[in-house]
C-alpha cells in the first residue's frame, strides 16, 4: 500500500504492544498499522508470537502494555464498548469453533439476531446467500459434528461475515485441516480478498501468502522483524533469520 493514503484509511493501529505470560515475554513491542483493503499475512516460526498478536487485536488476549486503536478507538481500554468493537472485527479460528449445539443456519444467525437485533427471517435469508457463495447451501440444517473440517471452516468464515465486519482476522485457518481440504478454504479466503475485505492472516501457507497478500509481516521473538511486500520478503529477505525461516518452510 502506498504511503500516500491518508490517515482515514488506517483501520487498526498497533502501538508498542507487549504481552507477558508469567515469566515469558511473548510480545516485546509490536508496532504496525493495518489499512483498509489490505491483506496482511503474518508468518514466522511457532512461538514467535503470531497468534498472540492476532488474538490481542480483538482482545481475546489482554496485552500487558501498549494499545490497539480500531478506527481511532482503543480496543485495550474499551470498557462496555468492547462488544461493539468486536462486532466489527471478525475472527476465524484454527479449530473452527462452530457452536456444537446449533445447526449451521443457527450458527450463522445467532450473533446477528442477538447482537445486531436483526430480523430472524432476514438473517436466515442472508445466511443462505452466504452459504451459497461458499458452496454449502445444502448444509444449512446440518450440525457441526456431521461436517468435514473444510466445510466447518468455510461455515466459520460465513458466520464471521454475517456480522459485516470491517476487518477479518484468521488464526491459522488451515492448520487443523487434512491436506486435501486446505484448498477449498484458501479459495474462499482468496475470493474474500478479491472482494476488498481487509484481512490479517496468521498462516504457514506460503503459496497463499505470495499470491494473495499485499503485505507480509515476519515475526521473530515477539517483534515484527520484517515488513514488506511478498516480493521483498520472499525474493529479497534482509535478515539471516528470515532467510533461514524461508529455507525451512519452502521445502
Amino acid at each position: 500500500m502506498p504511503d500516500s493514503l491518508n490517515k482515514n484509511d488506517v483501520i487498526l493501529e498497533v502501538r508498542d504492544l507487549t504481552m507477558r505470560f508469567g515469566k515469558l515475554d511473548v510480545l516485546k513491542g509490536v508496532n504496525t498499522v493495518v489499512r483498509r483493503g489490505e491483506v496482511i499475512v503474518v508468518i514466522g516460526a511457532s512461538g514467535a508470537g503470531k497468534s498472540t498478536f492476532l488474538r490481542c487485536l480483538n482482545r481475546l488476549e489482554m496485552p500487558s502494555s501498549g494499545d490497539i486503536l480500531f478506527e481511532g478507538e482503543s480496543v485495550v481500554h474499551a470498557g462496555r464498548n468492547l462488544n461493539a468493537l468486536r462486532e466489527r472485527i471478525g475472527m476465524v479460528f484454527q479449530q473452527f469453533n462452530l457452536f456444537n449445539n446449533l445447526n449451521v443456519l443457527d450458527n450463522i444467525t445467532l450473533a446477528p439476531t442477538l447482537v445486531k437485533k436483526a430480523d430472524k427471517a432476514k438473517a436466515e435469508e442472508e445466511a443462505r446467500a452466504l452459504l451459497r457463495r461458499v458452496g454449502l447451501e445444502d448444509k444449512a440444517s446440518a450440525f457441526p459434528a456431521q461436517l468435514s473440517g473444510g466445510q466447518r471452516q468455510r461455515i466459520a468464515i460465513v458466520r464471521a461475515l454475517a456480522m459485516h465486519p470491517d476487518v477479518m482476522l484468521f488464526d491459522e485457518p488451515t492448520s487443523a485441516l487434512d491436506p486435501e481440504m486446505v484448498g477449498e478454504v484458501l479459495d474462499v479466503m482468496q475470493r474474500l480478498a478479491a472482494d476488498g475485505m481487509t484481512m490479517v492472516v496468521v498462516s504457514h501457507e506460503m503459496g497463499f501468502a505470495r499470491k494473495v497478500a499485499n503485505r507480509i509481516l515476519f515475526m521473530e521473538d515477539g517483534v515484527i522483524a520484517e515488513d514488506g511486500s511478498p516480493e521483498q520478503i520472499f525474493e529479497h529477505p534482509k535478515s539471516e533469520r528470515l532467510r533461514e525461516f524461508l529455507s525451512k518452510v519452502l521445502h
Partner: protein, 228 residues
C-alpha cells in the same frame, strides 16, 4: 413364617398416595436444586472473588452437615426466630410443613447440583466462548445460548442420578410428618402389624419410581446425542 398381603385390600391407597407425594416432592426439589445450582455455579465461576467465595462456602457447609439437621433447622428453628412460612388454607394439606421439606431438600440438592453444573460448564471447550465473544456477544448471551446448552447435555446423566438420589432421600422428610411414601408405610405397619410385607411393598414402589426415572433419562440422553 408366613406372608400375608391381605392387608393391601384396605391399605393400598396409602402406598399410592405416598408415592404421589414422594414424586411431587422430588420434582419440586430437583427444580429448586437445578435453578439454585445454576446460580451457585455461575457465582462460583464468576470473576468477582467475594461472590465466588460465598458460593464455595455454601456448598461446603451444606455438603458437610446432615440433611436431617437442615430439614429440622428450616421446619423447627426458623419459625422460632419468627421466619414462618404462611399457612395457605383450602389446599387440603399442611402447606408450611410441605414447603419446609421441599425448601430444605432443594437447598441441599442445589449444593450438589451446583458442583455438577460447574463441572459441566468447565467441560465446554473454551473455543466456543471465544468464538461467541469474538462475534460481539456478551458474557451472558454466550452463557445462555452457547455454553449452558452444551453443559446441560454434558451433565444430563449426572442430573438424572441426582433425581434418583432425591427420590430415595426424600424418605427422610417423614421425620417432620410429611405424608410421603415412607411415612405412609410406617402408618400401614403400625396399624396392620405387617412390617415385612409393608416394607417390601414400600421398597418395590421406590424401585419402580427410580428405575423408571433412570430409564426415561436414558432415552432422553440418546435423543439429545442424536440431535447433535
Amino acid at each position: 413364617m408366613e406372608l400375608n398381603f391381605s392387608f393391601l385390600g384396605k391399605y393400598w391407597p396409602m402406598f399410592i398416595r405416598g408415592a404421589g407425594t414422594t414424586l411431587i416432592l422430588s420434582v419440586f426439589t430437583v427444580v429448586i436444586g437445578l435453578i439454585v445450582g445454576i446460580v451457585l455455579a455461575l457465582m462460583r465461576l464468576g470473576k468477582f472473588k467475594p461472590i465466588s467465595l460465598i458460593s464455595a462456602a455454601y456448598t461446603e457447609f451444606i455438603r458437610g452437615t446432615p440433611l436431617m439437621v437442615q430439614i429440622f433447622f428450616i421446619f423447627y428453628a426458623l419459625p422460632q426466630m419468627g421466619l414462618k412460612i404462611p399457612q395457605i388454607t383450602g389446599l387440603g394439606f399442611d402447606f408450611p410443613r410441605f414447603a419446609s421439606g421441599i425448601l430444605a431438600m432443594g437447598l441441599n440438592s442445589a449444593a450438589y447440583v451446583g458442583e455438577i453444573v460447574r463441572a459441566g460448564i468447565q467441560a465446554v471447550d473454551k473455543g466456543q466462548t471465544e468464538a461467541a465473544r469474538s462475534l460481539g456477544m456478551t458474557g451472558w448471551q454466550t452463557m445462555r445460548h452457547v455454553v449452558l446448552p452444551q453443559a446441560f447435555k454434558n451433565i444430563l446423566p449426572a442430573l438424572g442420578n441426582e433425581f434418583v438420589t432425591v427420590i430415595k432421600e426424600s424418605s427422610i422428610v417423614m421425620t417432620i410428618g410429611i405424608t410421603e411414601l415412607m411415612f405412609n408405610t410406617s402408618q400401614v405397619y403400625s396399624s396392620s402389624f405387617r412390617y415385612f410385607e409393608s416394607l417390601i411393598i414400600c421398597a418395590l414402589v421406590y424401585f419402580v419410581m427410580t428405575f423408571t426415572t433412570s430409564r426415561l433419562l436414558g432415552v432422553m440422553e440418546r435423543r439429545m446425542k442424536r440431535s447433535a
